[in-house]
């Protein structure tokens, strides 16, 4: 109740309550895929490829949501703003960050960085698997297991350069994936620090969608 009393109209607005169900589900789906594929599943294995495609689908829907979703989920609510991000980090160090209706400017930069990494990881992953869907890969493997080795024959004339490209793709894939894991750790650290500074749990709205204490 004391929260209500000290709040005139010129005081800070209510803490935002912004995460709609699509943002929440896609957040945890991608977090799960990144953790499993980054740390647990066998690189190049069936599960790894399946989960990579799940991440691609989730990312595609989330990016679409950035255009058609509610205002807090739209890109227009958190355009990249490096100056604002630095200002926000400075305010955070001083212990009084301000509230934002969507991602804070530093968080927004993080979002774009993570999406960028994920896009690179997915794209290079597709290059390494020759754009084959996991269904096709499974069919090919079944064929090889059954004794039909013809699918292993590389019939393209540019096989040489293809393999060279695969090497680069592999390097990029690992680099971007490791960068993404590192950024994810920074992201979690940022959430912890900001939760302390704002004195409210920032994880709960991402879990239940209810940030306000009613």
């Amino acid at each position: 109740m004391s929260r209500d009393l000290d709040r005139g109209a010129e005081a800070a607005p209510l803490p935002p309550d912004p995460w709609d169900p699509l943002v929440r589900i896609s957040h945890w789906l991608i977090a799960g895929v990144v953790l499993v594929n980054g740390l647990l599943s066998k690189p190049g294995g069936n599960l790894h490829v399946w989960l990579g495609w799940v991440a691609l689908g989730t990312l595609a829907v989330r990016l679409l949501w950035g255009f058609v979703g509610p205002s807090e989920a739209r890109f227009s609510a958190f355009l990249p703003d490096p100056v604002g991000a630095l200002r926000h980090l400075r305010d955070l160090l001083r212990g009084r960050p301000s509230e934002y209706p969507s991602h804070n400017p530093a968080g927004a930069i993080m979002v774009y960085a993570l999406w960028g990494c994920l896009a690179i990881v997915v794209a290079t992953g597709l290059v390494m698997t020759d754009m084959k869907s996991p269904v096709t890969i499974a069919e090919d493997r079944a064929a090889v297991a059954a004794g039909d080795w013809s699918v292993l024959v590389d019939d393209s004339e540019t096989a040489e350069s293809d393999h060279e490209g695969d090497g680069i793709a592999k390097e990029l894939h690992e680099l971007a994936a490791n960068l993404m894991l590192l950024l994810a750790m920074v992201h979690v650290g940022g959430v912890v620090i900001e939760s302390r500074a704002l004195r409210r749990n920032l994880v709960r709205p991402m879990l239940t969608g209810r940030g306000k204490m009613k």
Binding site: A9, L14, D20, P21, T58, A60, V68, S71, T136
Partner: protein, 183 residues
């Protein structure tokens, strides 16, 4: 009251289910499109390939349409929540949040609040120790940001919710229409 709140939580679960299905559709569409593109590249004229493209198109269209529907449902929920907050006597919170959403500067927030309280330009200017022209210019900017024609509409923006007969949480076409109008 318990009946109302259980209905409210039912309203809240609907977007959750919609969002889950939407993501599932999106992921399914990506798998299917990936497969269809592979088939098309192998044999562009095969009837299977054309059928698969058609299905892929339908899936993508379904994803976009569900997205729009989900957004409408979320906006309806937000309107209902704001209405309830207003009715609960949290009007000053609603005003502060809305001022922020309109992107009003701190000075404009002060002027806007005083205008809502019914003070006229000369009173506001005297209170703030500013010139009347300054206050007039600020009010004009506030109305522009809020997308209203003038002071009467500006005040009505916040009262309007209370005058609706849909204070019960019934999903209401009018509410949705008004939300669309506002955004």
């Amino acid at each position: 009251m318990t009946g109302k709140s259980s209905r409210a939580s039912g309203d809240r679960r609907q977007p959750l289910a919609l969002a889950a299905v939407l993501l599932l559709q999106g992921i399914a569409a990506v798998f299917f499109v990936g497969d269809a593109v592979g088939d098309m590249l192998l044999d562009p004229t095969s009837p299977e390939g054309m059928l698969e493209s058609l299905v892929a198109l339908a899936l993508v269209a379904g994803v976009v349409l569900s997205g729009l529907q989900l957004r409408a449902a979320l906006e309806r929920l937000a309107t209902q929540e704001r209405t309830l907050d207003t009715a609960r006597g949290k009007l000053s919170d609603v005003i502060a949040t809305q001022f922020q959403a309109w992107g009003l500067t701190p000075a404009e927030r002060d002027v806007g609040l005083l205008a809502l309280k019914g003070l006229d330009v000369s009173d506001i200017a005297a209170l703030r120790g500013a010139a009347q022209g300054t206050v007039r210019a600020q009010l004009t900017r506030i109305y522009a940001k809020a997308g209203v024609s003038g002071r009467a509409q500006f005040g009505a923006w916040f009262v309007e919710d209370l005058l609706e007969d849909d204070l019960t949480l019934a999903p209401n076409e009018k509410t949705a229409a008004r939300t669309a109008e506002r955004s």
